[in-house]
């Protein structure tokens, strides 16, 4: 594990990815404690204050400090995206591996249904679900997880089909093991590496999707300092105070890039053929 980590931070994209993710993690864990102001403290004298010594990243239409809001808002953006990705990936992996194990017509039925769900674009799917389930951060998480599961099932199945043909799976079938044991203990551990990589890359999509949902007004609700919501709020004042728009956008982009780079680095490091 430590050796893996050392190899990860030795390559440039791995190092940048780890550093940025660490920064985001610090904001999530200690954001409220480190923030210079309370996120909802209104200062009417400081409306649209430009970035400077008082408000490092400027202030919004109510004079709220943008840096503080970003730091506190990390907590309602990034963990949500992580949870959504984790739930979606886990569900997708189990569907994919199970489908590969069952094979034959069951596999066909599961995968064609999966294809049908995949044909709906992710954002549309998420919007559809949130509008049925109702607005709110929790429902947005469910919607993103459901939108992610089919893609993950596809990736997991393709790897699991190889594993299915390995003799250790045949040996387990021959000695009469149950389906649960074979799927969870024999096959899943051997398809984990590509799933872990795929899901780190997907975290960045989830961050963006979650921000998009909040931007459209169906995710987190005001006065939460969720990043997508901050972009939506600042949109009207774009010409007066562009910093209100730029700061949360950059935060979203940086987080997405961080997880993307981490995923790329992990893909290289976890590849056993890579001996460098």
């Amino acid at each position: 594990m430590t050796e893996l980590f050392i190899r990860l931070i030795r390559r440039p994209q791995g190092f940048v990815g780890v550093a940025l993710v660490a920064l985001v993690a610090v904001a999530c864990l200690f954001g409220p404690a480190l923030a210079p102001y309370a996120p909802e403290k209104i200062d009417f004298l400081g409306r649209f204050r430009a970035p400077g010594w008082q408000n490092w990243l400027g202030a919004d239409q109510f004079g709220r400090d943008i840096l503080s809001r970003l730091m506190v808002g990390a907590r309602s953006t990034v963990p949500m995206a992580l949870i959504a990705t984790f739930v979606g990936s886990a569900a997708g992996a189990i569907i994919g591996v199970g489908s590969a194990y069952l094979g034959g017509r069951t596999d066909e039925a599961i995968m064609r249904t999966n294809d049908a769900v995949m044909a709906i674009p992710g954002l549309l799917m998420a919007l559809l679900l949130v509008s049925t389930l109702g607005n709110g951060a929790g429902n947005a998480v469910v919607a993103i997880a459901v939108a992610f599961a089919p893609g993950m099932a596809r990736v997991a199945r393709s790897v699991a089909l190889n594993v299915r043909n390995q003799d250790y799976v045949k040996a387990a079938i021959a000695r009469g093991e149950g389906a649960g044991w074979i799927i969870f203990r024999e096959m899943l551990p051997n398809v984990m590496a590509p799933i872990v990589i795929e899901s780190t890359i997907r975290v960045s999509f989830a961050v963006m999707l979650f921000a998009t949902l909040s931007f459209l007004g169906v995710g987190a609700q005001p006065p939460a300092s969720e990043w997508g919501l901050m972009v939506a709020d600042a949109r009207q004042y774009m010409y007066q105070a562009p910093w209100g728009l730029i700061a949360p956008s950059v935060a979203i982009a940086l987080t997405a890039i961080a997880f993307n780079l981490l995923g790329d680095g992990l893909r290289d490091v976890l590849n056993p053929k890579d001996e460098r």
Partner: protein, 524 residues
Amino acid sequence: MTPALAIQNYTLDYVTAAGPVRVLHEISLEIRPGEVLGLVGESGSGKSSLAWALMRHLPDNAREVAGSLRLGDVDLRRLSPRELTKIRGRRIGMVFQDPSTSLNPTLTIGRQVTETLTQHRGLKQSEADALAIDLLGHVDLRDPAAIMRRYPHEISGGEKQRVIIATAFGCRPDVILFDEPTTALDVITGARILELFARLREETGVAALYISHDLALVTRVADRVAVLKRGRLVEQAPAADIFRAPRHADTQALVQAVPRPERRLVHDKSSEEVLLSASDIEVHYGRASLFGHAPPPATKSVGLDVRAGEILGLVGESGSGKSSMARALTGLARFSGRVCFDKHVITSARDMNAAYRRDVQIIFQHPDSSLNPRHKVGEILSRPLKLYGGTADEIPRLLEQVRLPASYAGRWPHQLSGGEKQRVAIARAFAARPKLVICDEITAPLDVSVQAQIIELLLALRAETGTAFLFITHDLNLIRQIAHRIAVMRRGEVVDLLPVEDFDADHVHPYTRELMAASPVPVG
């Protein structure tokens, strides 16, 4: 006379994360023009590294410490990449182990053969085509003009190897390196390739380095044999002598390990009581789809019976349906027909209850893939104990039974060697205390010496437990050492089922005789 190929004090290291590892220690070898030198060694002895060094195609982490490699009057180590392309294929040819990966799947056979000819012999395309047809005809390929237009997947493995040999001989090289050219082929095809090699060699007088792990085979094709052990040359002798009078202890061990049909290892008689009888077994792969018929069954109403405590051999070339039988009997493949085991009648995999699954165990060919890489040895062995009754306390006993230290329970499969992995797979099968163990080519991927140890272990386990074996193999010499009866399969049918003593008799099936003729019996 200058030797065709001379290797002097050649020493090679591989640089790894743990420091340099020496793979070849001061190797000195000479091949005279027209001579075939056999190079024998276990896997990991460095024989392929030597071949790649001669082809000047070593991996990036290789460091040549000392020594020289001379091809006639050329020092191979001093050549620039540009000069090397003129030597490779032109003066030094190579035939690889696996013909299926050494031809480019996207080019026609004709393109691949003529490319070498136009490159090295400066022929025009039309001349090269004519010569290529000539060469392919010369390696006994039927209708060479048609073969030229085909792609590699449209011809068989034996035909591919013939194409590669034709290409290697096509530029009339001084030396050809053969790296286990028959290992990936089945017995009869391999034997024909060897005949072809002997004929071409007589005609062209080419010098060759023939690399193999099979000492018996090498003594038949080579004039002289060199034995390599962990990167050191331990013995060099004329082929006829090395078998009769091996001097070095390692060579003696290699000679001892070669299976010989006349040296029986099992001396008892099996009982008459039938343990498992299978009749009319047809194994089906794939199903009929909406627009097509199901493929024909892999076996055609095969009948077999295994007696209690017996070793029944099942031999045949690849594709003869012998592994399909193993899959059917363990419920891994769909089959029709009847299996009668212990007064219990089975007509499909669903009828196989826990008792049958416990009593009939299977050991697979590749130990790398039959042990889950994410489970420790202890966990692998605990599963059958949990399923069939038993406690984890038995794991040390199971490991001891297959001659492995009890501490191996804490190891991962990738930390074991091929032979040790196969021992773990054997322990897993015997954890169930089975009445019948199906061994599906379990020694095929192992070296001859490791194979001998595994066979010894199986026979010891049989003496302890009285288990019957269905031993599937393509090695007729090996199975004639241990089996009570042998079934010969060909194209999904059993053509012969004979007690082992009758194999020298006259009433064997012509195919069985062909199979026996193709199995290399050691010289001397």
